[in-house]
């Protein structure tokens, strides 16, 4: 008899939690999860630069961004100085726009024919 009662007890709906309890537990979980988030625990407020750094993905991402920025700057400077001594400006002024394109990409060279 006892084993049958134990079996029935496992199926007993009276021992199942109400929907309101489940909702309360989930609410607690959500509220305490916010408190447990890193930063909030230490009570530290991030400054602008620290927040920016975190949003950009931390130091590795910022390192990549810095490299790209420096490379862009170098390309800009190198490109402009190499054009100073060329005849590009004269060609543009004289209407030779096809020649201008060929300066950048040989595939446009056929236009010069």
């Amino acid at each position: 008899m006892l084993d049958a009662l134990f079996d029935a007890a496992r199926e007993d709906v009276a021992a199942t939690p109400s929907a309101s309890l489940m909702a309360r537990v989930l609410e607690d979980a959500s509220a305490l999860q916010k408190i447990a988030e890193p930063g909030a625990v230490q009570g530290r407020r991030d400054g602008f630069w620290r927040a920016l750094l975190r949003n950009l993905g931390g130091w590795p991402s910022v390192g990549g961004l810095a490299t790209a920025a420096v490379a862009g700057l170098w390309i800009g400077i190198a490109g402009s100085t190499s054009q100073i001594g060329s005849t590009l400006g004269a060609q543009v002024l004289s209407g030779g726009q096809d020649a201008v394109l060929s300066e950048f990409d040989n595939s446009y060279a056929f236009l010069l024919d």
Partner: protein, 194 residues
């Protein structure tokens, strides 16, 4: 970066707890759905009162949410830890409630409606609950964990912080006491042919 609900179904409790601590809302949902019924069921069987059991279950889970950021994966089983918290909360409540008539605690809500089968089932559960309510606290906890929650003796020993032999002794004595308490009600509970 919440994971889809269904992919978390097979993740162990401790891994979900780590996900929860990392801000995963879906992990909180899965843990709530998985653990609340077990915690509530145990508290209800031990306390015999739904409202009290709900309070205990909620409090136990609040403690779990709070401990989550410090949880070390693989060190302890989440359910064992949780059952221990529930067991201690129940013991505290029972200690405070001492002096209140036992029948007042164990008296279940009487729905008094539905088919005869439902009524018989209800009578059986009421009788079991009343008999459980007469057991000493530790015996009751051990019997519920072993025979209703279906846990093994080593885990119960960890939960109640006693030896496995002590668990065996508690469950054996508890079962004998329950059998004795219910013996006179066999016919009334529909077990006359057993």
């Amino acid at each position: 970066m919440d994971m889809p609900y269904d992919t978390q179904e097979d993740i162990p409790d401790d891994a979900l707890l780590v996900l929860y601590a990392n801000g995963d809302a879906a992990a909180a949902r899965v843990l709530t759905l998985r653990l609340t019924p077990r915690v509530f069921s145990h508290a209800y069987r031990v306390l015999g009162d739904r409202d009290e059991a709900e309070d205990v279950a909620q409090e136990a889970l609040i403690r779990l949410w709070k401990v989550a950021p410090d949880w070390r994966q693989g060190e302890a089983k989440v359910t064992t830890w949780l059952y221990r918290v529930v067991a201690n909360l129940c013991t505290d409540r029972l200690r405070k409630a001492r002096g209140v008539a036992l029948d007042a605690v164990a008296e279940p809500a009487d729905d008094a409606r539905g088919p005869a089968e439902t009524l018989l089932e209800q009578a059986r559960m009421d009788a079991l609950q009343a008999a459980l309510g007469e057991l000493p606290d530790r015996q009751r906890q051990a019997v519920v964990l072993r025979h209703i929650e279906g846990l093994g003796n080593p885990e119960i020993a960890e939960i109640l912080e006693i030896s496995v032999e002590a668990v065996e002794s508690l469950t054996a004595r508890g079962k004998r006491a329950l059998a004795a308490a219910l013996a006179g009600q066999r016919a009334a509970l529909g077990y006359s042919d057993d």
